[in-house]
Symmetry: C2
Subunit: 316 residues, 2 copies
């Protein structure tokens, strides 16, 4: 059985066992006085992670954004990133300038900066970003903590990045979904405000698709989820472009949206609403992951962004 | 001009300019109350960074060790690492077990641990480690700070990893230098003790070779160095294996030794000696990097580990 064939969960379980920990979150948590230091790392490759039409500035932006999204998912505030870059032989100075400007601009957009890094030569462009942040101990949000009866919510809209992928494959390069795919905007402000609201019980990002996020939240919180199909906030214009069924499928399983998916105590929904714009898409139940349409329920498969093997994390 | 052809210094200068900072150290420094958080990242590839004879456990050990060496060079104490791994299709479960055990064992050997990480699929094994540590503000050691007249010192011996590379190429696989090459031991204890000694003015590691370290220290501290050839602590048995001239060349330019190179105030040499075993190999001078033998001086070229493009770092 090779790396490509090993099932994600088996691999993550094995790695967690070897490393002596099993808690999985978007970031590792390190105790530091009254705060936690949160830290996360993500490796991206030219062929598997960056659509062909992406320019080098967008690759830089993306490599920073994916890591900041993990910081957002903990309710934390970023204070810097390290970027390790394997540069291919064809990378010229223009490419390098644009790539590193993309790093800088995405970090600056979110009030943070690139602290340092490493560069070397590699056949294929490979970028590993590491983001660091702080969060007060009493504010940290984790994948664990959801209880049956909690409301299931999401920021923003769903399926837009999937629509971008579709538009790209259909060569409809003027589609507004393309930018959504190429220049994602992680929800740092929203994550922080939700943490401060005191209303949220569990949270993560949906960068690999909503279905995988629900599967992960479900496994760690030991709850199930029921999603009401008609409540999914489909990205504007998505249904018109691809039809209802495919739009719902994209909202569930397409990666790249970088929204926050979280559970809220029912009686505190108003506090969560004051924190940021959100949509209630369902609720936490005892077990299983279900989608309901016209009163009928079907099981949701844990499918999402295919290249992912997965993140692992553990803490003291 | 492509990534492979761009001169290291030009590239690092350009990147520093784009990112808005120029301080280069082994780690980025982040203010955190009375301490600094230190953070460093290193990307390693199967073909360019791991000798063919390395087993997967040793690859794991190495990927952690290179990062801990950067923590050591700041006088800091590590508190954890993140490991991002691109696994090639041929990586089976045995390989994965051994690799991650290597991560775990190297971290544990130095009293620290793997906090989390990321795995995905890639054509070639690629590992990016990120190490995090703490150092008191008043103890931190940097590449800047050396003054003319300071004594130039190194921990341990020099050229052993170069000897390992030679023995490997000569197929002398029973050579004790092979282990030195494949299982490096960063000088964390020594780095910490040297920081506490109050005697050290500047420090970095020599993972890319002594000559490159001197070049880097020279550039940041704005001093020169004079090295006395007969004082170089050549690894035991190296001269017998490769001859005097080649042994000296290896001590200067071969990468992989992971010793600490540092400058000490002359009047505090005894305090540094109490901190750890060290060899005085020369002194800081006004300008240039020189090697003296039998009263004759020659310039030392800034040559070292060839695959490196380089690290960049900046701080507030």
């Amino acid at each position: 059985m090779s790396g490509g064939e090993i099932r994600e969960r088996d691999l993550i379980w094995r790695i967690s066992e070897i490393l002596g920990g099993v808690d999985n979150d978007d970031c590792a948590l390190i105790e530091a006085g009254e705060r936690y230091l949160v830290a996360t790392t993500d490796m991206l490759h030219r062929q598997t992670d960056f659509p062909d039409i992406m320019n080098p500035w967008q690759m830089g932006w993306m490599a920073v954004a994916v890591n900041l999204s993990d910081i957002a998912a903990m309710g934390a505030e970023p204070f810097g990133l390290l970027m390790a870059v394997g540069l291919p032989p064809e990378a010229d100075l223009y490419f390098i300038d644009e790539l590193f400007s993309g790093f800088r601009d995405c970090a600056a957009f979110y009030g943070t900066r690139i602290l340092g890094g490493d560069t070397d030569s590699h056949q294929e462009l490979t970028i590993t970003g590491t983001a660091l942040g702080w969060v007060e101990r009493y504010l940290v949000l984790r994948r664990s903590g959801a209880h049956p009866g909690d409301l299931l919510c999401t920021t923003g809209s769903l399926g837009g990045a999937g629509g971008g992928l579709y538009a790209w494959q259909e060569e409809r390069l003027d589609s507004p979904f393309i930018e959504k795919l190429l220049e994602p905007e992680p929800r740092l402000k929203e994550g922080r405000a939700l943490a401060k609201s005191g209303a949220v019980t569990a949270m993560m990002d949906n960068s690999d698709g909503l279905a995988l996020s629900l599967s992960d939240l479900s496994a760690v919180s030991r709850v199930g989820f029921l999603v009401y199909e008609e409540r999914l906030p489909l990205a504007e214009g998505l249904e018109e472009m691809v039809g209802r069924q495919r739009a719902v499928e994209m909202a569930l399983s397409a990666g790249g949206d970088f929204e926050l998916v979280f559970t809220v105590q029912r009686e505190r929904l108003e506090a969560a609403r004051r924190a940021c714009k959100l949509t209630v898409i369902g609720e936490a139940v005892e077990e299983g992951i279900w989608m309901e349409r016209d009163g009928e329920r079907r099981r949701v498969e844990a499918r999402g962004y295919e290249h992912r093997i997965g993140k692992f994390g553990n803490r003291k």
